[in-house]
Structures are given as C-alpha cells and as structure tokens.
C-alpha cells in the first residue's frame, strides 16, 4: 500500500482516537506533538490502527515505533 493512500485513513483514526478533528499527522509526527497521547490513547491507537488496516503489530514493532512514519512503513508492508 502506498503512503499517500495510508495517510488520509490514518489521519481519520488519529482524529477519532484523540477526539480532535484538527489533527493532521505527517510521517514525522510523534507522541510529543499530540497533547493527549498518553498510554491509554496509545493502546486505543494501536487497536484502532490494527482494525482499520487489518493487520497486527508485533510487540517489538509497537515498542520500536518512534513516529507516525514508522507506523506507516509497517502498514505499507502488511496493511490492507
């Protein structure tokens, strides 16, 4: 899957999970950029992204994710 197909869908997930329709993610977005990105939101985010793109992240992938770009790369590889 291509990055430009992924970003709009991923952005919707972010907006839903953080309840903020002004969010606009890029590959460089990190947890520091979004105010409510706490552990609860992180778990919701992982679950919602997995559901949206029909994939399952591996534990090592979850812990290694440093920014949205890392997430996009994994989706590009295995997402639907």
């Amino acid at each position: 899957m291509k990055t430009n197909e992924i970003i709009p869908r991923l952005n919707e997930v972010f907006r839903d999970v953080f309840g903020d329709s002004s969010i606009s993610v890029t590959e460089k977005t990190t947890a520091d950029d979004i105010e409510d990105w706490d552990s609860l939101a992180h778990i919701s985010l992982v679950a919602a992204v997995e559901a949206e793109f029909g994939l399952r992240f591996k534990m090592r992938e979850v812990s290694a994710m440093k920014n949205v770009g890392d997430m996009i790369n994994l989706i590009a590889e295995r997402g639907r």
Partner: protein, 601 residues
Amino acid sequence: MKELSFPFDSKNIIRRSPALRKQLLSDGSTRIKKKVAVLGGSTTDHIIASLELFLLNFGIEPEFYQSGYNKFYEDAVFGDPKLDSFAPDIIYIHTTLRNITKLPSVPSVKAEQVTNDLNEQFELFRQVWESLMKRFDCPIIQNNFELPLFRHTGSYDCWSTTGHAAFIERLNVMFSDYARSVSGLYIHDINYLSAVCGLTNWHDSEAWYMYKYAMSTSVIPDLAYSLACMIKSIYGKNRKVIDLDLDNTLWGGVIGDDGQDGIEIGPETAVGQSFTEFQSFIRGYRDYGILLAVCSKNDEENALLGLEHPSNVLKKTDFVSIKANWEPKDRNIAESAQELSLGPDSFVFIDDNPAECAIVEGQLPMVQTVSFSSVHEAMYKLTRSGYFEVTAISDDDLHRSEMYAANALRAAQQKSFGSYEDYLVSLEMQAVICDFKPVYIQRITQLTNKSNQFNLTTRRYSENEIQAVSQSTDHICLCGRLIDKFGDNGIVSVVIGRIDEDILHIELWLMSCRVLKRDMELAMLDELVRHAKTAGIRIIKGYYYRSPKNSMVSEFYGSLGFVLDEKSENGDSVWHTEIENYKNKNKVIRITEKEHHNENK
C-alpha cells in the same frame, strides 16, 4: 445511544470513545452520580474508559477511583487514604486468571495439597471482601475467573486433581457460595462472558506483556458492558416490561390470515417448536417479575384467538396489558405505560417487523426495541443486552404479575361505585406499617432506587445504608405494606425521618405508583406522627427536592396541612407541621402492626 446498545461494535467504541463521551455528556439528560472504585489485578484503564460510556448511557454519571496496577489486595486489606476519602458508592474488583497464584504446579502434587492451596487462594479473596465490607458500606462486584486458553493435557485438565481448569472451576464455586451467604457481594461472571466471546478472542498474551491487560482490548467493551448492566441493575435502572408483537414473534404465521389452526406453535413443526421455546423463554422473565404485554396490529378478536391456541406456553392472563388494534404501535405502548403507571423508558419492544421498530424508535426513543429475526437471535439479544439484569430478587419480583392483574380488577370495580370513598372502603384495605424488618430491607432498597414519581427527596440508598438507618436510634423508619381484597401489594411506601431533638426531618418519603389515590400516604403520616410523638417530637419538617420526574408531589406536604417555610427558585421547598394536636387522617385503611398472613416471610 445506538453505538452503545447491544449488539455494539467494540472496535468502534475503542476508536471513537472521546466523541461518544462528548456526545453523551452534552445530551442534556439528567443522571444519578455514583462513585465507582476499580481495584485491579491488572491494568484497568480501558475498562474504566468503556465503563464510563456505558454507565453514562444507562443514566449514571460515574466518578472513578483506580487502584495502582495489581494493588487490589493492598488497597482492600491495608486500606488507602485516597480510597477512604473517595468514599465509593460501589467497588469493582477486577481480578482474573492472572491473579491466581496457587495453581497446581506439577502433576505429582497430592489432592490434599491442592485443596489446601485452593482454600488459601480463596482466603486471600475473602480477606479482600471482608476488609472492604468493614470499611465501606457499599456493594462490591467481584469477577469470577475465566478458563485458561492453553492447557497441557486436553480434557483431563478439567477433572484431574492438578488440572488448572479443575482448580478454577472449584474456586468459582467457592466464590458463588460465599456471595450467596453474605449480602452486598455480587459475582461478575467473566467465566460465562469469556466463553460467549470465545477464549481465543478473550485471551491475548501480548496485551498482558505490553500493557498488563488481562484480556484482549477487543473484548474490554464486552466486559465493561456486562459490568455496567450489573451496576445499573443495583441502582434500579432495569427495564420492567417486555411488550411483544404476536404474528411471527410469539407464533409462526399471521392469525388474521391463517386462523387458529394455521399458526405454528407447538411440537408439530420445527417452526412451531422454535416459537414454543421462545414463549417459554419469555415466560421465564415473567417469573423474575418482568411484566409482559402485547402490542399487535390485529383485530382484538383474532389476537385473543391466537392467544387461546392450546399449544401456547404464554396464556392471556400472563399479560398485564394487551393492545391489539390498528393504531400506531408507539401510541399503544404509551397507553400501556400509562395504564401500568410506568414510563416508556421501562419498555422493551419486540417485533419481527423492522419498520415497526423504527417507528417506535422514532416516536418513543426511550423505548428499547428488539428487532426479531429468529427465535435464536432474539433470545441471544435478550440474554446479552442485560435489560433485565438481576442482582437481587425480592418477594415482590416473584409476584409482580399477579399484583398487576389484581390492579386491573380494582380498576374494573372502581367504575361501579357511586363515590370514590365507597370504592376505597369496598377494597377492604389493611396496612402493615412497621419499622424496617430484615426481610424487607432488600425491597426497601429497591424502592429507594427506582421510585421516581412519588418520591419527595429522590434520595437513593444502598442496602447497607438502609441497614444502617434501620438500626440507628436517631431515625424513625417506617415501611408500609398494603393488602386488600384483591391481593397483597407488598411494601409500597417508605419513610425515613431523622431525629434532631424535638424536630423530625423527613429525609425520604416515597410511595409506589401502583397504590396512588388509596390514602396510603395518610395512613403513613398517621403512623409517623404516632411514632414521632413517642420519640418526643414536636415538629415534623418535610422537604421537597424537585427532580425531572417528581412534580406529582410538589404540593404533597401542603395537601397534608404542612405550612410552607421556604420555596427556592429551583422548585425545592421546605415545610413543617406541629403535631401536638394532630388528628388521624386515614379513614379507609385498617392499620395492623403485624401481618395476618405470610407471617413467616
């Protein structure tokens, strides 16, 4: 809210939880506030987040206390100042398989050792409950245990001496036995829930390693929903009536077209069998005190013909209201509600025609509709939806349908009397008005939580609080049971007054709407005054706190001859009366201190 009604989309709830929360909090509905302490044996963040949504949707606004990760034992047994000052209304102990520490380690362990370990494991939990009960007067909800997904020996695991499933099943039985033996402890059956969700969906080891979640995130809404159903049941927010369509809902076919011989019910055909099973299932709700009603587009004559089919499990007399006509169904439901003195928000409406469900939803959004597509599916929806979740059962629940049937007889007789007083006299009413006897505590608690209309202060009490005021020397507590020639209405009125030197402050006065206009309130006042005089009271003060549902009693104290002291802008008012020269007001109800029948109850 549709998104939070069963069957819900769990993934959607997790993803859109902030938006759902915002929508609920801004919908303008009034909710009771409850403080919920969640003591976890694992991380409980998402449980709390989902639980909040479901509770808000059930009309309860929760505030949460959350124990530290796996600190349920410490918080309960050693106490925690934050938990103390939080003063919970309800405590939920979220423990799971991950908190069982005494599972048999190897197959060589002896049976006696396994039993010792089992007892020790149980003791640990008993300590938790007893410590909490000692410190807090509030209901405690405790998970039982789900079965493990992984096992070494196959089926042998469930019956061998050292099998893990065997150990867990025994522990679950011990939990249930203990819960039955005390009051205020409720078992949340995650053993059932995990089975119904499927153990492969329930367990998620990675969620444990990464987040210390004892189950998959995807089933957390199921867990939270099931829990919310218990909490709303404890606070008297269950539905009360199943209103049923007839054709293709209670039997197969259309009575108006197929005739009595043509409809399918009974053992002859597969379809007939399925409807027999459905009728039995519905009948089971009636046995637990749920009222049944009919709402069918039919000529009444045909509807009754169908109900008289000899193979029916449900008989005409099982229904407290039968509406068979060609009026819109929402209008019929509203009428039934009025006849039964219940709000439409007490109704669950079941119809095989989705269009009828949609019309009812549109006109009466507070009615819960169930679109009936098959017997199997309808039974599943009723099972999982928790509309009628039972957390306690009172004597009244077991006889509710009979009481309503007697009400219908009273109404019929009322028409034939010259004056209303003649009618009241003809009912040959007698009331037992007494303090809170232990057998009544459960029913009294139930009444304080679900009476809305004839309720002066709408103060809600937990079972433990009722227990406490009943033993307090600073309170006068009266409950009234009304019996007439048609039957026993059970406990229908409750008054709690707090003594402050020679003044009695009425903190609670409620009456069940099924005995309105029977002068029971006068009988209660007479008794209250009598008890008050004995306690040296000179003045009784009455309080009316306005709620969205209790406008019926806004002038209640005035009608009893109390003097208005003050009236606030929000509609609340304070009244008083001096009782020295009080004359009894009730003329139609004979008061007895003791019951003449059902003495043993």
